[in-house]
Symmetry: C2
Subunit: 314 residues, 2 copies
């Protein structure tokens, strides 16, 4: 199991920087007043396809050999990773094969199809998703790009924090949500080597606290029966991401569902940007634990902005 280091993240950044948006860092005086902290929001909700996932997908696509490029890339996903891989593939002129459960929201099917990917529908079970993906890869020879448990993907996600440290200096803390662990693993890899004085904190919903449990108990515990509005965080860690988190993380907070919705609404109202529930999870932790963050310069990575406007939780 080869773990990435800071140089790998820097190489990824060189590879992808002309393909991704350099997203802005925004702050809000009123949210700073409410929390007592100085918060700097890295707006990956404003990234292409509306999520940081585009960084990892782009790095995976741009790391392919010439022979692999011809055969394309494949994954199974019903979420942001599917759209991210589809667009990254199209931008590089290579085919993308996406396995999606047939009950995925129409809007997501349309988005992935809109980016020109070949979609194969399957039954909405993990077993059928994996079996169908295996078949697709067998037929096409495409390279699997995992949503998070893959070297190149983790390196791509780490570039969000690399960019953040160029935009804002002297941060005390960087916070990310944790689902599969790609974003926080990339962040840890870069930050703990280049800025070891910055505390890196992951946050997850109490209703899907597998990363917290794994970290506390010192052994991998999968995510079963997740119950949270933060749909991006319902996944288990992978072997790679668990190993990086286990060895490097400074702390993991878990938060209530009400705090997530409250934090989400606060960002919409005060910052005028659209974030999905998963993005609100770190701010929810700041609001639940103000003493930890008081007076600190805190970078928060807003992971994405893909919500169904017809079904808001407020």
């Amino acid at each position: 199991m080869k773990l990435p280091n800071a140089k790998d993240i820097e190489a990824a950044y060189k590879r992808i920087r002309s393909f991704v948006h350099q997203t802005p860092v925004l702050s809000s005086e009123s949210i700073n007043t409410i929390t007592g902290a100085q918060l700097f929001f890295k707006c990956e909700n404003l990234q292409k396809v509306g999520a940081f996932k585009f960084r990892g997908a782009s790095n995976a696509v741009l790391s392919l050999s010439e022979e692999q490029r011809l055969k394309g890339v494949a994954t199974h996903s019903s979420g942001n990773h599917a759209a991210a891989l589809a667009l990254a593939a199209r931008q590089n002129g290579i085919p993308a094969y996406i396995v999606m459960p047939d009950n995925a929201p129409t809007i997501k099917k349309k988005a992935v199809a809109g980016y020109g990917a070949h979609i194969t529908f399957c039954k909405p079970t993990l077993a059928d998703r994996e079996a169908t993906l295996e078949k697709v890869i067998e037929q096409t020879g495409a390279t699997l790009v995992h949503p998070y448990n893959q070297f190149e993907v983790i390196c791509g996600q780490g570039t969000a924090s690399l960019e953040l440290t160029k935009q804002i200096s002297d941060l005390d803390i960087i916070m990310t949500p944790v689902g599969g662990g790609g974003l926080v693993s990339g962040t840890l890899t870069y930050i703990k080597e280049r800025f070891p004085q910055i505390e890196v904190i992951a946050v997850e919903p109490k209703g899907a606290d597998d990363a917290y449990q794994s970290w506390k108990q010192g052994r991998f515990i999968p995510c079963t029966h997740p119950e949270t509005i933060a749909d991006g965080l319902r996944t288990s860690l992978g072997t790679l991401t668990y190993e990086i988190i286990r060895s490097k993380i400074d702390g993991i907070y878990t938060v209530n569902e009400e705090s997530i919705v409250k934090a989400m609404r606060l960002v919409w109202e005060r910052m005028k940007i659209i974030i999905e529930p998963s993005s609100a999870v770190p701010l929810a932790a700041v609001m639940e634990n103000p003493e930890h963050f008081k007076g600190k310069k805190v970078g928060i990575i807003l992971s994405g902005g893909n919500v169904d406007l017809g079904h808001l939780p407020f």
Copy 2:
């Protein structure tokens, strides 16, 4: 009637730049594909108080004499200008007196009160608003800061376009919505002197087309019985703003209500930012008149992001 020039805008920019956000310019590949144009959105919805109005209010406050500062500033407004003036005054440690109609939305009353302004309520008629404001000014000696028809306010609003031209070069067109005309007047003043090759186009709803009618007929026509979802654009031009628009504007488009809602939703969905209906009006014009904008580099000033999340038009 003293009209501002480009130097006045540059002086305003020096005055206010450490008080206002340098707002980002965002673009969306998918909206570019839909419209056939290259659109650059200047995000004044991400400005403090969620609107470009903070620029003009800040310039007005920072232009006061020492004696005027002691007595503070006053205005009547139920919208973004009230909040903008209240915050600009607080940031500079001077009192703000705001006259608001007693039927103003609770959320707006709270926002203005939250910025520490002294609020005087009045009946929701223009006559009572003006009479009440006159009384407040008589009692306090405060300086009137008009929402748009004032030299310093126009100069402040013009700094949005100044900043945009620093961020994006070689624009062919700049578009703004037009209500009272402060934003487009400031834009025209700066752009037509410094970048005369850039076309400046104003857009307003068909249901509140007084600027269009005034321009077409060559005489000032007030806005009576406006009917539009774009609540920021229901006002008449002022004498100053009419004069600047009359003499400098390259064109005015009017748009349908359905186009406004469609454009607004498109920005929310594709760009993950919250804009109010007034902000969507220029994009609506691009979508209604694609031939004018095809292949062009177009700067669009998104005027604000203050919407009631409980009452969305979609």
